[in-house]
Symmetry: C2
Subunit: 232 residues, 2 copies
DNA sequence: CGCAGCCTTGACAAATGTCAACAAACGTGG
DNA sequence: CCACGTTTGTTGACATTTGTCAAGGCTGCG
């Protein structure tokens, strides 16, 4: 296994503080693979054999029940996913599929747990990462329970705008049908929600969104750092 | 500070594996306090000064936005809450209030972080606990996004039945208005949902619930271990 | 060119929330 | 122990939100 492939993850906060020896132990049984788009990497309920790390491309985390399906999150480089299942040695709660051609590093879960048991720095990094993940889901939960779909969309767009560097106009990075699922609504409803935001300073043309009246959209969306800020 | 007060938390999975010295350091600045019902212990947005541990009674975790409010979880003895905020030294994402007279242990967050940095066993225990919390919220998210309110109620009742030892008849342990909030609906809607489940083998009288046709309710609810099992 | 998938739109249905009224349960102070 | 007021739960009527179904346009690709 060429070291070069793992150089890019060595500096991740999750691995940065651990010794070279332990990092080596971690990647000894690991490998990197490139997957085409729309490949199901893991299925919910499967045992957690590997910790996954997205090196390039993007991955959709979703879940199903009773014939319905919903997207819970999108993983973008460079981040891990299903860390919680790995450390608890429990089945995955979510399925994962590539959204585009993606390079994924896979580290055997047993190696993660083994190194985790002997490397305190790594254990601490895992805590920080998990706490972060946890807080993200709590924010998503608040978003879902406290806001209408129109409000969720408005706040989502303001968050995306910030990601895009604050530009007035930017491209959606999700397919709309998936964005609808992430926001907890149907594609039809999302179409109407976009129209419903026009009176509040929004213009949409295909995947291009333009915020024509920032102040008005902000007044409608009322973003909160305790729901919409990524960092906190 | 009498040791007796902390004996009950010494055996928690979170603290069991740490040395006596480190446990002592953890509780040196800690204290136990008894609060009456309906006291707001923390407010979302506050800095995370203390790790809280419910010794007796119960605590409601809730969040507000734009004049709306929703309950996210109930903490029962003996468990900690807001561990994630503590380890990240970030503001609380949820508010907390006592539901009844409750004894709460408070451990200064800085002590938690300090011990966490020097005690690998403690760090590992924190990971396990956080991963557990994370998975709980993910399940709640799936429950909310994949099920209708009637289905959520049905599955909630089946979970409660299991907690009650599998008895056909049991008492609700939440006030109904709060149960409605936990399940993501209005109190009026919950009333109707209870009636809506009658054809599927449910009878309700005040806080007493009787499952008159277990098989039928199961067929309607279709519980899934990946949403409804506490352990996994 | 033609097919397939995505997006949009309209009409309609179902689910959920809102408001108002009232009954029942509870706690408090007389 | 009772009377009172407050809170909670229930119900009905209605509004709003959201989902469903069907159709058609658009785009990208073989």
């Amino acid at each position: 296994m060429p070291d070069s492939a793992f150089g890019e993850i060595r500096d991740l906060p999750l691995f940065a503080a651990m010794t070279d020896a332990n990092f080596a132990a971690l990647v000894r049984g690991a490998y990197v693979q490139t997957f085409p788009a729309q490949i199901e990497l893991i299925a919910e309920g499967d045992p957690s054999d590997f910790l996954h790390i997205v090196l390039s491309g993007s991955v959709d985390l979703f879940a199903s029940w009773n014939g319905r399906e919903t997207s819970l999150a999108t993983v973008r480089p460079i981040s891990t996913f299903i860390l919680a299942a790995t450390v608890r040695d429990a089945p995955y709660l979510m399925s994962a599929r590539t959204l585009e051609k993606s390079r994924i590093a896979l580290i055997p879960s047993q190696d993660v747990r083994a190194v985790f048991d002997i490397d305190a720095n790594f254990a601490r990094a895992v805590v920080t990462e998990l706490a972060q993940c946890y807080r993200s889901v709590v924010k998503a939960q608040k978003d879902l329970k406290l806001r209408t779909s129109l409000e969720r969309l408005a706040n989502y767009l303001l968050r995306q705008q910030r990601r895009a560097g604050g530009a007035v106009s930017f491209e959606l990075e999700h397919e709309k049908r998936r964005l609808a699922s992430v926001l907890g609504m149907t594609p039809e409803n999302l179409s109407r929600a976009f129209k419903g935001l026009q009176p509040y300073g929004l213009a949409v043309d295909g995947a291009r969104v333009t915020i024509t009246d920032q102040a008005e959209l902000l007044r409608f969306a009322r973003p909160s750092p305790l729901i919409d800020d990524a960092a906190t």
